[in-house]
Structure formats: C-alpha cells, structure tokens
C-alpha cells in the first residue's frame, strides 16, 4: 500500500480530520495551508503502512502545541517542525525512516506532512489517538509504554528545548510552559520509537480514514446520502437531529467548556439533546440519559451541508445532526479510561460504549 498524497488530498484530510476532531483539535485550515505549501515546494508525500518499515526503523511523530488564538495570528515560520525533528534525531543519534501523526483529529493531522515533504520521508498511515484529545499523554503510545520524551520543542526563532521528564503530567506541564514563553505556539517532535515497538500502539489507517471521510462529505450527492455513507463507513450512529436552542460557554482552568441544547425535530420532536464540551464534544445526553460518552467520537454536523461544526462555531438557530462513532478499541481498557473517560473530564458518569468490544485488545 504505497500512495502519494498531493495538495488536493490535504483538503479532504482537513475536512475529515474536523469530523474526527469532534468539535475541537484546532482548526486544520492553517495546518492544511502549511502542508499544501510544503507539498507544492518539495513534492508529494508518500503514505505507507507501518508494516512496510523495518522493525528497527526509527519513527518520530511530529505535532504542534499551543493556543488556537495564537496559531491563527502568529503562524509558524515553517522551519520549526523540521528543526524539532532533526534536533531529536541528533540527540538520539539516529535518523528517522518515517514520521506519523499524534492525533488524526483537527490541526495535528496536517503538521507531519510538512516534515515528510521537506525531509522526503514517508508518513505512516496511523495516529496515536484515532481522534483528538487535549493532552500529550492521551495517546495509545503512552499506554503502550512508549515515552513522549525525549521531546523537542521548537519555535520559529530557532530556539529548541529538550525535555526529559518523569511522567506524562510533567511532559504536559513543562512543554506547555515552554510553549507560552515561545509566544504561545510551538512545534514538537516526540514519542520517537522503533517501528516494531510503535506498531501495536498506533491506531492504523486513520489518515486514509480522514481523507475518505473528507471525500464522502465533499461529494456532490445529496445530504442524506452523504450522511448515510459517512455513518456506514465509520460504523457510526445518528444520535439526534434538531435545532440548536442554547449554547452556554464558560472558561474554566484555561479550557473553553460549554453546554449545548438541541431541541428535536423530525422524529425527535419533544426530546432534548444536551452536549457537554471542553474544546471537544465529550458527552451527549438525550432527555437526561447519556447516549454517547468520551472517548467515543461525538460530532455535530450541519443539517444541510453535513459538514462538521466545531464547538467554537456552535450558535443558536443552527439545524444540526449529532452523530457518534466508536473510538479505537484501545480506549476501552480501564487504565486508558482513567485518563480519557468521562470522569477524567469531571463528569459523574461511566463510559457507555457505542459498540461492545468484539475482540480483546
């Protein structure tokens, strides 16, 4: 499975990654423009399966960190993803054979393409989350025992910071503080590991999935057909459709939290759906009963266009469809749910999976 990714594929990727971003993950618009600019300059990027690498090939994921407000104003210089990458290679004393995404949802689905294009290395069709989460340790790699550090944080001025930490919480805190000093956004190289160690701890095929979602939604077919195709492809369910009647927002501990109320129409009349979000959509309740919970994916789509609506864009009066898609099976593990389940985000609820697990992971 070798496939070349051209600039036009990046548009599909960005659209699909917004669906997998479950309302958060940062707007991939800037990331998509960066990836396209890099591909135009250096040529298309090769998308490979990790099985095509040798067991002891080094793979280094690449990502961006920071405040969305900063990213849309002080865009990256362009050198820093590669700078972080090369510096980490230098520290490890090895050259990476490929890069990969930390999250397939939102902005970070696009950043590794910048590295891959410029260095002429392939990108692995996989990611560490299968969606978007707000913190660095919230990856399958972390639970697979792969450390996020040594990690390189780089800014556009040429500064790099090497982090070596005792655990995920320290990684998160130290890298976020370095990022703020750097002006609110930075580029990361982290979670470097051999292909054979990484293989069982990635969610495979997620970039292809995102591009396929983008294609399905950009299709000229009518909206109901596109929705049907999306749900079928993602094994997802339509949770609710109706009119958005209230968005309550509050900023808490630096996160944008909120509650959305949707009044039902067409078959849901008389029912009310409530969504809780913290950047990403976390909980969907129907008439007080949870019907989908994080880490399963909850995404709000515009009724007419079937395109995803981010939590920042939610407004009164929108006609929406709420859908849910099953998360990667790894998140069903109890130790994972401790870090990405409803309780971690402050809700007195247990994870209620959309689909029972068929296989043991």
């Amino acid at each position: 499975m070798r496939k070349l990714i051209h600039a036009k594929d990046i548009d599909y990727l960005a659209l699909g990654a917004t669906v997998l971003g479950t309302g958060g993950g940062g707007d991939p618009y800037i990331g998509a423009l960066m990836a396209k600019q890099a591909i135009e300059q250096y040529g298309p990027v090769e998308l490979i399966s990790i099985d095509e690498l040798a067991d002891d090939d080094l793979v280094i994921p690449s990502a961006m960190m920071g405040a969305p407000t900063v990213m849309v104003e002080k865009m990256p210089g362009g050198d820093e993803p590669v700078k972080a990458f090369k510096q980490l290679e230098k520290f490890l004393g090895r050259t990476a054979a490929a890069t990969v995404c930390i999250e397939a949802g939102g902005l970070n689905s696009t950043i590794p393409f910048v590295v891959a294009a410029e260095l002429g290395i392939p990108i692995v069709d996989a990611d560490g989350m299968g969606r978007a989460f707000p913190e660095i340790p919230m990856t399958a790699l972390h639970f697979g025992g792969i450390s996020a550090t040594p990690m390189m944080v780089a800014d556009e001025k040429g500064n790099t910071v090497l982090l070596s930490t005792v655990n995920g919480a320290w990684t998160e805190a130290l890298s976020r503080n370095a990022t703020i000093v750097m002006g609110g956004s930075s580029m990361l190289a982290l979670y470097g590991a051999n292909a054979q160690d990484m293989q069982p701890n990635l969610i495979h095929g997620t970039l292809s999935t995102a591009m396929k979602i983008g294609q399905l939604l950009a299709n000229k077919e009518d909206a109901s057909k596109r929705l049907e195709n999306l749900l079928k492809f993602m094994d997802g369910v339509e949770l609710f459709r109706g009119k958005l009647t209230d968005v309550m927002r509050r900023t808490l501990d630096g996160f944008a939290r909120g509650t959305v109320t949707i009044e039902g129409t067409s078959g849901n009349t008389g029912s009310v759906c409530r969504l809780e979000f913290q950047n990403e959509n976390l909980i969907a309740m129907r008439d007080g009963e949870p019907i989908a919970t994080v880490p399963d994916l909850i995404t709000v789509l515009d009724l007419e266009t079937v395109h995803p609506i981010t939590t920042e864009e939610l407004r009164y009066g929108q006609r929406v469809i709420v859908i849910a898609m099953p998360c990667a099976p790894v998140w069903h593990r109890p130790e994972c749910l401790e870090l990405v389940g409803p309780r971690y985000f402050g809700y007195d609820l247990d994870f209620k999976p959309l689909r029972p697990l068929v296989t043991n992971v």
């Binding site: 001025k157 002006g183 407004r315 009066g317």
Partner: protein
C-alpha cells in the same frame, strides 16, 4: 431649512430620499440602476428635487450607500497593483500571503509580496526587530509599479507600532498620494484573514476614489454642494477622506442601511429585520439599534476575510423569484427575473410565474397592472413554501426561542403576511420601500476598537476606559461630534490557553455628525 439626501445604490434599484432637518421624508424616488451608476443617481436626485421643489443649495448633507467596491472585487475590475508586506519573519512564513485566494487573483498579486522581519507576540513582545532596511528596499523597488500598499503585522491588534513605522517608511519613499492600508484598522486577530481584508482594501482604493469623485460630480451637476458621506457596513457613516482610506468597509452596507432605516422608522432598537428585494431576502438582527455583527470569517469575492460584516442570513426569495413545479414539488426561487419583473411577471403582463404573481393570485396583495390567475393548489403550495423559507430564516437569526418584534422593509415586503410564527409583532412601517436610503440619511458616525488587552498589569476598569477612549478618538476622526458620542456595544472575551489574563475587548461608539446642526435634528420619530 436644511435638507439631506439619502442614496442607496443597490443591485437593481437606486433609491433616493430627501429628508428635512426633522428627518421627515419630503420626497422619494426609485430608479433602475444604470451601467455607469452615476446616471441613475442623477435621475433619482433630480426627481426628488422636482417633486419637493426644494432648492438644491439647501441640501447640506448627502449620504451614499454603494455597491461599487463589492462589484469591483467580484468582477475583478479596475483593481490596483498592491505591494503586500507582512511583518512577521521569522514567524508566519509557513503560510505565505494570498494562500487560499482564487487562482486568478493570486497570480495577479503574488509578484509584489514580502514577509519582513518584525511583528509582535500575543503579549506585546517583539518577535523580531522591524527590518527597516528591507522595507526601504521594497519601497524603492515598487515605486511607480504599485498604486497601493497593504501592511499587516503579526498581533498588530495588540501592538500597532511596527505597522505604523513601516507605513512611515513607505510614505517617505512613495510620497503622499499612494494609499497605505494598515491591517489593525480593518480586522481582528486572525492574521491571514486580516491580511486578506487589507490587501482587498488596498486593491479597491482607486475604484473607491474614482466612484466618490464621480458621485460628487453628479451632485455638483445638479447644483448640490453638500458634504458627502459614505455608508459603511456597521450602519454608520464615514467621511469621504476616511472612506478613501478604508473603502472595503462599504461592502454590504445595503442591508445594514435597510436595518438602520427599519430601526428609525419603527423606533425599535431590538428586532429582526426582513429586507425583501427582487431576487433575495436578507434577514438581520438589530441590537441596540445597530446591525448585529458576524462572528465568522466572511468570503469576499472568493477571499476569506475577518473584517467586520453584518450578520445576515440571505435566502433566494424575492418578488421576482420564479415559481416552478417538478417531481420534487413546488419551488420558489432561487432563480429570479429580478428587475425584469416589470416586463416578465404575469402581474405585469408577462408570462413568467413569480412569487409576486402567487401573492396577487391569492388576493393577498395588489401589485402590478394585470390580473393573475393560477391554479389555486399551486398558488397555495408556492405561498406556503415561500413563507416557510422566511420563517426558518427568521428563526435561524434569533438568539433565543422567545418571540421577537419583526420589521418588514424593502420593495418586496408587501408580499409577506402581517403575522409570523415566532414574531411577537410585525411592523411594516411607512416608507418601507426606501428604508435603505432613509437608513443612510439618518446614520451616525462610529468608532471602534477590537484588540487583545493584557489585564494582569491594569485594572479591568482602566483597560475598558483605555479601549473606550481609543474608540471615541476613532469616531471623532471619522467626523463625529464629541459631545454626542455614546457607547453602542462593549464585548469582553477571555482568551483560552494564554497567561496574563488576556482578554479580547470590542467597543463600538457612535455619535452625530459634527457638521450637522444639533438643534435641527430633533428627536427620532417613532411610529
């Protein structure tokens, strides 16, 4: 007695009203838009002068809303060559200027585009020293090649210093006549969108200048030597000098003029306004007497921008919307006969069935010169389809499910009923058909600020005061009388993930024109 002209040049009609100093409508005229725009204005103004018998010399002010700038961008007509300068290196190079632009415009503008050392961090620190040497070199290299300059600095809404210094360098080299557009004057945080708005603004500065001069000439030809003001898209006016600096702010002033007119004609400050034209209907929201602003990036001629624009929901439904029947059911619009309705619509003796004809056939309004007969079932279904579309558009624009007052304006609004689902009351004020021209004529001048402020060093009160005084200074610069300036809106939005209690503050103020005689303005009429 002194008089004012309100002129709104729309897509189909040029509307002109003449108001006396008590804001009473003395005369009104609706004429078809002419290819050269100015002829239509001359005819309209001539008509109101004839109708009223007012002496042209008594007209002290002329307020004009125009679509010239919008059309120039959409039609790619008479656009300037622009030197595009971004202050932000080494940051921001990963996405160059003009990214995401339509190919034709991108090719055209790419040759004079630079990213120069400079710009600021979110907290006001410098990213890099401003590279003044390179700016000098660029200025020398574009001399005689460009007609305008667009300068955008990273986080200039937080710190305007580098943009101002860069402007001085270009001014020094290029002289006084080249318009220089600064991004912090136009948009808010979101570099690419603000830069896009700034480049478009620079691109249309010559069109705006020519249009303004020809408007002045058209008025002078009729012996009208009034002070000329241009309507901008927040429902306020700007002086000609200001409009020449920021012509892009005239985009979408038509619907906002209608909304301001609707507020004035009804005395309502908070309401939904439905403006029905020949081809489309715009639904907007009045908040404290002014149009609500859009929060999302707005496309202008295919370019993503973030300068302030009215929050409108437009539907393809108007008096001239064609009624069609197919397997999918009855459709009304979006295809429209537009201004050709007076020839092609059945109510005018033509043979195209329009929304107007449906309303006439159902005896819900009297329009046109001919009787209209349509199958009753078709007419009823078409009517229901049209009203459902309108009800949904109104509902989308509401901020809560509470019923709100509704104001119907625009020539086509006679076609709508006087009761609506979700509306507490429906107003169709006198002179509804020229509400846009009235809105232009009665408009005030505004000032605003939209920046990120750090709250950790100063008290909230001090920061708000600072923001207010910036907005007030801006209003005075635009021509407002200081003693009449009032705060229209204050908005504070805390910014996630940033230290220093960063808060985005938006303040809008508005006041009466300084040159306008206060005592004669009188109280706003209410019906």
């Amino acid at each position: 007695m002194s008089y004012r002209l309100g002129i709104d040049v729309g897509g189909t009609n040029t509307d002109v009203v003449l108001l006396d100093s008590k804001n009473t409508v003395i005369a009104k005229a609706k004429t078809a838009v002419t290819a050269d725009i100015v002829t239509g204005i001359r005819v309209g103004v001539g008509t109101v002068l004839d109708q009223s018998g007012v002496n042209a010399a008594e007209i002290t002010h002329a307020m004009l809303g125009t679509t010239q700038v919008t059309n120039a961008i959409i039609e790619r007509r008479e656009l300037n060559e622009v030197a595009i300068v971004r202050l932000g290196a080494p940051a921001t190079r990963a996405v160059k200027p003009l990214a995401g632009w339509p190919e034709d415009l991108r090719e055209r503008y790419a040759k004079y585009s630079w990213i120069v050392g400079g710009g600021h961090e979110f907290d006001g620190r410098e990213i890099a020293l401003l590279d003044e040497d390179e700016l000098h070199e660029i200025a020398e290299s574009v001399k005689g090649r460009v007609q305008a300059v667009a300068i955008t600095g990273v986080f200039s809404p937080v710190n305007t210093d580098h943009e101002e210094r860069a402007a001085r360098i270009f001014r020094e080299v290029l002289g006084e006549d080249i318009p220089i557009s600064l991004s912090y004057q136009l948009g808010s945080v979101g570099l690419l969108e603000r830069e896009n708005a700034t480049v478009l603004n620079a691109a249309v500065s010559s069109v705006a200048k020519r249009a303004t001069l020809s408007f002045q000439q058209a008025l002078a030809d009729l012996d009208v030597h009034a002070a000329l003001y241009l309507a901008q898209n927040d429902g306020t006016l700007m002086s000609v000098e200001y409009a020449l600096l920021y012509p892009i702010l005239t985009i979408a002033c038509g619907p906002t003029n209608s909304m301001r007119g609707a507020a004035y004609l009804t005395g309502l400050k908070n309401a939904i306004v439905v403006d029905v034209g020949g081809t489309s209907t715009d639904v907007g929201v009045l908040v404290n007497g002014f149009p609500r602003e859009s929060f999302v990036a707005v496309d202008v001629g295919g370019v993503r921008t973030n300068f302030r624009m009215p929050d409108l929901y437009s539907i393809g439904l108007g008096g001239g919307s064609e009624v069609t029947e197919s397997e999918d059911g009855v459709k009304v619009g979006p295809k429209s006969v537009g201004y050709r309705i007076v020839k092609e619509g059945r109510a005018f003796g033509g043979d195209t069935t329009t929304f107007t004809d449906v309303v006439v056939a159902l005896s819900k309004a009297k329009v046109g010169t001919h009787e209209v007969r349509l199958p009753r079932e078709l007419a009823e279904r078409a009517y229901d389809v049209a009203i459902d579309k309108t009800v949904e558009a109104i509902d989308r624009m509401k901020t809560s499910s509470d019923a709100v007052p509704l104001i119907l304006v625009g020539g086509g609004s006679v076609l709508l009923p006087s009761e609506f689902e979700g509306a507490s009351e429906v107003h169709r004020p006198e002179n509804y058909d020229v509400a846009n021209a009235i809105g232009a004529a009665i408009a005030q001048v505004s000032g605003r600020v939209d920046r990120i402020f750090a709250m950790d060093q100063k008290s909230r009160e001090d920061v708000l005061e600072e923001a207010k005084s910036i907005a007030i200074a801006e209003a005075i610069r635009a021509g407002a009388e200081a003693s009449t300036i009032e705060v229209v809106e204050i908005e504070e939005v805390p910014i996630a993930y940033l230290p220093g209690n960063a808060v985005r503050i938006k303040v809008t103020v508005a006041g009466t024109l300084a040159s306008y005689n206060q005592e004669e303005v009188g109280a706003h009429a209410s019906h």
